[in-house]
Amino acid sequence: MIQNLVDGILTGSIYSLAAIGMTMVMHMLRFANFSYAELLGIGGYAALVFDRLFAALVPALGVAIEPLTLTWALVLAMLVAMVITGASAVLFDWLVFKRIRAKADALSMVFASFGVALIVRNVITLIFGHKAELYSQDIAFAVVLSRDPMLLVKPDQIFTLVAALVLMLAFHLVLTRTTFGYALRAVAENPNLSQVSGVRLSSMVTAVWMIGGGLSAAAGVFYAMTNHLSPVMGHNFVLPVFAATIVGGIGSVYGAVLGGFIVGIASGLALMVLPSGYTPAMPFVIILAVLLVRPHGLFGEDRDA
């Protein structure tokens, strides 16, 4: 029970991380972006390439930072990957979304993003193959926090959790306390009016993609650290990340993080109440329940009000 709860929170922290970016991208660009989760894949693989490169160039970087499996090489690679992923997100926007945004409604964007997701995922497959890839062959053993009740956690996961919480706080403060944050929210609500209020639309769009891309790259790396890389990982993340975003309420950073935990915990506890085959449905049942009580998610706002 306790273990399932803790597992849920730890797994959820990756969803949370990705959902922070997702909620901002969705809020500002006003469409459900199915290609967002593919950025996890881009980030994960970009980090793989640079991790190998850095570790080969400077072998000293290749040692793990105890007690994590994270190496300095991977830390650096992750930073590079965040930039690369952000930049590719900006590129997709420039190539596709910007052009459609100019002419059509949100739903065309949704489906364009679906198309982009297909392309990205399969290009990754063509480049890296179907095989699973790992940053480190080592299996990071969980440490025993308590024997009764039995409680096991992996240091990497704790690290991810802390990172998610710190980033959440940072972004929430940015959005609610800085004029940059006001500008992001203003663009989300009314692009025209924000322009005449002196906000440069294209820089805000770029900023939000860079942030979203960077966060999802981090999520991708953290995920691959505790699991592994595969071209379909983005695809596997689409739903939980969406769910987290929606449960939290689109546009709310706190909501995204809480939503991530809720989805994680729901998956963790599902097995206690349902036969194992039904677990994939569990997060959605929770979402349904949350939305029935709060139709705009936990912290979401009614756009029409």
Partner: protein
Amino acid sequence: MSDTVLTIEGLEAGYVRDLPILRNVALTLRRQSLTTIIGPNGAGKSTLIKAIAGLVPVSAGRIMLDGAEITHLRPDRMGELGLAYVPQTDNIFRQLSIRENLALVMRRMPDRASRLQELLGVFPALEPKLGDRAGSLSGGQRQMLAVAMALARRPRVMLMDEPSAGLSPKITAEVLDLARGLTGQGVSILLVEQNVKQALRVSDHCYILAEGRNQLDGPAAQILSDPVVGEIYLGGKRVGAA
């Protein structure tokens, strides 16, 4: 420095390609003057203002601000050049608080704290609501906020699209007086109003727009007293309705 601050020549603009709403519109705004544009609903007044602010694509003609062409400038650059715009509808950010709305437009201003106090002095009704979501404001309160946002950056030229719509008579008078007063402080104002009589009383000059074209212009007082104009545009008497 020339006497005119804003010049529009042969302007053609519209929302969709090949369907101009404005045709060959010309207008000059004299420095420190209050010029009002009036005309029937759907005449193209808002479109004209939006075209100046860079929100509607211009297919022909030129817009000059202080001798520099701003025709195809991005809307967010206009503020830096001292041009402010109060839209007719959707003119506040509903999801942001009043304070955030104002902070947003003042974000590059060093003296934003004191400026905020000045603005609240002009619209005291906003003061108790500073922390509220702007979407919860009444129609008139929203209008006050919108004007305050435009004023915040101390523009040299202000474009105001029906700022008085929805305001109580008292506040309407105050806003119009405020506009008048601003011209004394070096601001030039281009106003669109349906509240014609009150607006013209404080204006220097008046343009009449109909069906996307210039119809008439002249000193405000003269337009106000012109019996024909009064009949057609000022609600003096009813003409030609089906």
